[in-house]
């Protein structure tokens, strides 16, 4: 509506033009508040990462909250057992949208060395994971790298589209479709004696 001259005059007073998406994403990616779900030894590296030496406040993510209501980045740091899985999923559900998940370390990425009946073989069988970090435990640098990758991912999101069309249905993302057949690769092992997933008729 205004002429270029008016825009230039406005710019001199401290205004600038941008897209809403870019502005919102800029805010979101630079103020990730992590939910530190320290389940085992990875939690120690996570603490080191939050502390002054590695200092994730350089990336705006130092405000680790211990209430999921105030967080938007869940860092699953450590071995998730099936007994703990319900609590983990409840914490995830309690986090307000938008929210992201980093699977820190091999245990939460794939079960790791705990190739066992008690351990969830990758938290992506119960949660939608955005970034996986290998390592046992990964160095804080690796998790910071994951956080930067997550920031790049957030840059590509479209919050206005989400605002107008509602959140996409994320039910399938890592929560029900993943096949869990742990004994398949073991010769002579007893296979499942029944359907392992509720509603899994096949």
């Amino acid at each position: 509506m205004g002429s270029l001259k008016e825009v230039e005059a406005a710019a001199s007073e401290g205004f600038f033009a941008t897209r809403v998406d870019a502005l919102v994403n800029w805010g979101r990616k630079n103020s990730l508040w992590p939910m530190p779900l320290g389940l085992s030894c990875c939690g120690i590296e996570l603490m080191a990462m939050i502390g002054p030496k590695f200092d994730i406040s350089r990336f705006g993510a130092e405000a680790a909250r211990f209430s999921p209501r105030q967080c938007d980045l869940m860092i699953v740091a450590g071995t998730l057992t099936w007994k703990m899985a319900e609590a983990c999923r409840t914490i995830y559900d309690q986090m307000p949208d938008p929210k992201w998940v980093i699977a820190m370390g091999v245990c939460s990425s794939s079960g790791g060395m705990y190739d066992s009946y008690a351990v969830v073989q990758g938290v992506d069988s119960i949660l939608p994971v955005d970034v996986y970090v290998p390592g046992c435990p990964p160095r804080p640098d690796a998790v910071i790298d994951a956080m930067l990758k997550l920031q790049k991912r957030i840059e590509r999101e479209s919050p206005t589209k989400r605002l107008f069309s509602g959140p996409e249905d994320v039910d399938d993302r890592g929560t029900g479709k993943r096949t869990y057949a742990p004994n398949d690769a073991v010769p002579g092992a007893i296979q499942h004696t029944g359907p392992s997933r509720a509603g899994d008729a096949q």
């Binding site: 099936w82 319900e86 559900d93 066992s116 009946y117 008690a118 029900g176 029944g194 899994d200």
Partner: protein, 175 residues
């Protein structure tokens, strides 16, 4: 453990046990071991606790000898601080009747060990006041340390999936 058993007076224990039929042996680590029938266990517990002075229980654990019969073996180890002696008890039980008397009324610290043994082997301790599973979820119907339990478990995700289905049926529950 060998050092702590120097001068162990086997005759003293055998004298206290009296006419209870036990089979005494020396474990590979030189701990005196008594193989006792299940029906004599309660009596042996009381004699060891009150007469022989074994006031500390070290552990209770199970062994699965599958496919041999009797299938299970239950082991207790006790320590006497006064005599600086250790003894081990052992009994064999069948799989279809895996019940032994509890020792928690004499050694309350055995409560958790017996719960763990029940959780991992399915051996029930008769008289235990609170015999729930210790490590596995309470509704989990299998016993992981049995020899015929598959390495990757039986439906380890079943309880979570059931919970997940309930949660999805009423989404307001999560918040």
């Amino acid at each position: 453990m060998t050092d702590s058993n120097i001068g162990f007076d086997l005759g003293r224990i055998l004298g206290i046990l009296g006419d209870v039929p036990v089979q005494a042996a020396l474990a590979p680590d030189a701990t005196p071991t008594f193989v006792v029938g299940r029906e004599h266990l309660s009596k042996v517990f009381e004699l060891l606790r009150y007469e022989a002075g074994f006031e500390t229980a070290t552990f209770v654990t199970g062994v699965d000898h599958h496919p041999a019969t009797p299938r299970f073996e239950v082991c207790w180890q006790f320590l006497s601080l006064a005599f600086n002696e250790r003894v081990r008890l052992s009994t064999r039980i069948e799989a279809d009747d895996a019940v032994v008397p509890t020792s928690t009324h004499l050694w309350p610290g055995n409560a958790f060990s017996e719960r763990e043994c029940y959780d991992m082997f399915g051996i029930r301790f008769e008289g235990h006041e609170d015999l729930r599973r210790l490590l596995m979820p309470e509704e989990y119907g299998h016993h992981p340390l049995r020899k015929d339990f598959p390495h990757h478990g039986i439906e380890p995700d079943r309880l979570y999936r059931e919970w997940d289905a309930r949660r999805r049926a009423e989404p307001a529950d999560a918040n």
